[in-house]
Amino acid sequence: MTAWDFTRPDAPLLVLALLLGPPLAALALRPVAVLSARGASVLGPLSLVGCALLGAALLPVVRVAPVQLALGAQGAPLELLFRVDPLALVLALVSLALVLLNWTRREDDFDPVRRDAALLWLTTGLVGLALAGDLWVSWLFVELCILATAALLVQERSLRSLVAVLGVVRWSAVGTVLAVVGLGLLQITAASLTPAGLAAVAQGSADGDVLSRLGFGLLVLGLAVKAGLFPLNAWGLAVGQAAPARVLALLSGAVPALTLVALARVLSGGELAGADVLRVVGILSALAGAFGMWRADDFPAFLMQLSLASIGGIAVGFSLPGPAGLFAALALLFHFLLIQSALFVLAHRWRGRLTDLTAIAWRMPWTAAVLVLFAASLVGVPPLPGFWAKLMLLMSLAEYQGAEAMLVVLAYLLVTAVEAAAWLRLMRIGYARAAKDSAAALQEDAALGVVRVDRLPSLLRSGPWARAYQLLVAVLLLVATLMIGPVAEDLNRLVVPLLAQRVSGCCDAGGWG
């Protein structure tokens, strides 16, 4: 037995430490801040790094066999079930990395300790969501994520952030009621809400299945509200205008992505109504996001809509019964999370109108080149990784016959075309030559005695770490392009546990399942 062999009996304790690290740090922040402000400022990042190291150490262990953990006595009301397989652990690690990436302090923070605590609770929600063993636990941690996000918004203390919180509370209540009724109905028809328990319901007689189908459909809708999928994302616009870029990055990236994976674990190839609901909501989100990108006036809104379009495509992939759909969805998901994190790093500075970025590419050529690379991969220009992921999704969609499948294929092609048009519009602005209007405006301002000077490049310039991260993501994309075979094999290993949890025999290509 090696030191990290996962036959070791203390593996569940390591999982527990991974789960409890962020909330314990959140609770310890205030007392530590009383003793040392500097200590409090590093406690959060240190705890996240510690959790990431624990997760990395657990990875070889869960590759041998998944670790299952039940917190609480058997039958206790709040028994929390966790299942740690390679996919769950990778997603937890990605969540930790994304929070660390967005862990920046502003000088005008009203109460940094409170902000750090909210970020740590958000991390708790994300890690718990990644490792959740059944739908009940997934829902609980999604709620925690949204609560923590609302707390982060409140701390912005601007009028628009407070108004945005009102929208979050309002819509979150609607999502909660849908999810709770759905969970309640599922709970009385299924022995458990684990993938195995729900699979047993899906394979049971159709007579008693009405309640479970209804319950699952309501649960998907409830979680879609929390994930901000169209048309249940009415709170998104106000939040997009109010939240700082780091919160937006997590809210529009990690939270919906992990929620979709939690749903994908229990979707039984369309045998529960949730798959159909998820597919419809997914394609509507992709369309709404693509057209939203086209119409966006400011860079954060552009990125929010980009996230919506991407998450919509991922939802469509997860709703498909076959392994190809799952594979494509996971490929899209990791590709999206990687690029989205780098784009939102850019949005820390690019908070204004898109027109403010006029001719920026001539002044920031490296940043612009990286942006072009990201855009090309997101749109699906061959041979970049995004192309393979999108092609896989389209091919898995094309496997199914019928008008509905063709409609989804056509809609997704339209989404890709509109996304490309939106990116071209942004590039056109960025690569525009200095406009005569700007010179005229300068002269006009000079005549008025106020010289309007183009300080744009220096103000829009990201910090050295941010630029380094963008370059790193660009290099990773290029490496993945060159090594697409091994990357696909690794991804396939992550898909296997997800497939194993789905109902066998659900993957006939003759229909939607």
Binding site: Q74, V169, V181, Q187, D207
Partner: protein
């Protein structure tokens, strides 16, 4: 049968009223009432589902039949399911309270800052603040008395 339908109908009506209220009403203060209605309805529904699961009387099954639904009882793991329903109820109470406290706190702060809670006024103020952010604090509009010229040297990036 009528009583059965009524018993199951009450939480459904409460939840529906609360849901419609949340989506339809524009006054944030009334959202609080809608949230309380939803919470009460959700709890009542969970209690009834737990009763149904525990096999307390035939009325829940009859009530479901009224709505054209048929329940297939799950004999196995009934204790686990009951515990989970109780857990769900507990989570509804705690989360409902958390959201209501947050709503009240935000409304109090907004009342303090704007003096009114009319939705149209709040929306207008928030929009004005956003326009100000875009228009005045936008880097492109920064005004400094200098004759610096735009160049790659200002950004640290070189072609």
């Amino acid at each position: 049968m009528f009583i059965s339908g009524l018993v199951l109908g009450v939480p459904v009506v409460l939840i529906s009223l609360g849901g419609v209220g949340l989506l339809w009403l524009r006054d944030p203060l009334r959202w609080l009432t809608a949230m309380v209605l939803i919470q009460a309805g959700g709890l009542l529904l969970l209690v009834e589902l737990a009763a149904l699961h525990a096999g307390i009387g035939p009325w829940p099954s009859e009530a479901l039949t009224l709505f054209g639904l048929h329940l297939q009882p799950v004999a196995a793991a009934a204790e686990g399911s009951m515990a989970r329903l109780h857990g769900l109820g507990l989570a509804v109470i705690l989360l409902g309270l958390a959201w209501q406290v947050m709503l009240v706190a935000v409304l109090l702060v907004l009342k303090q800052r704007t003096g009114a809670l009319q939705p149209s006024r709040l929306a207008a103020l928030a929009a004005a603040e956003w326009q100000a952010i875009l228009g005045e604090e936008s880097p492109a509009k920064a005004k400094v008395p200098t004759d610096a010229k735009a160049s790659t040297s200002a950004t640290g990036e070189h072609s």
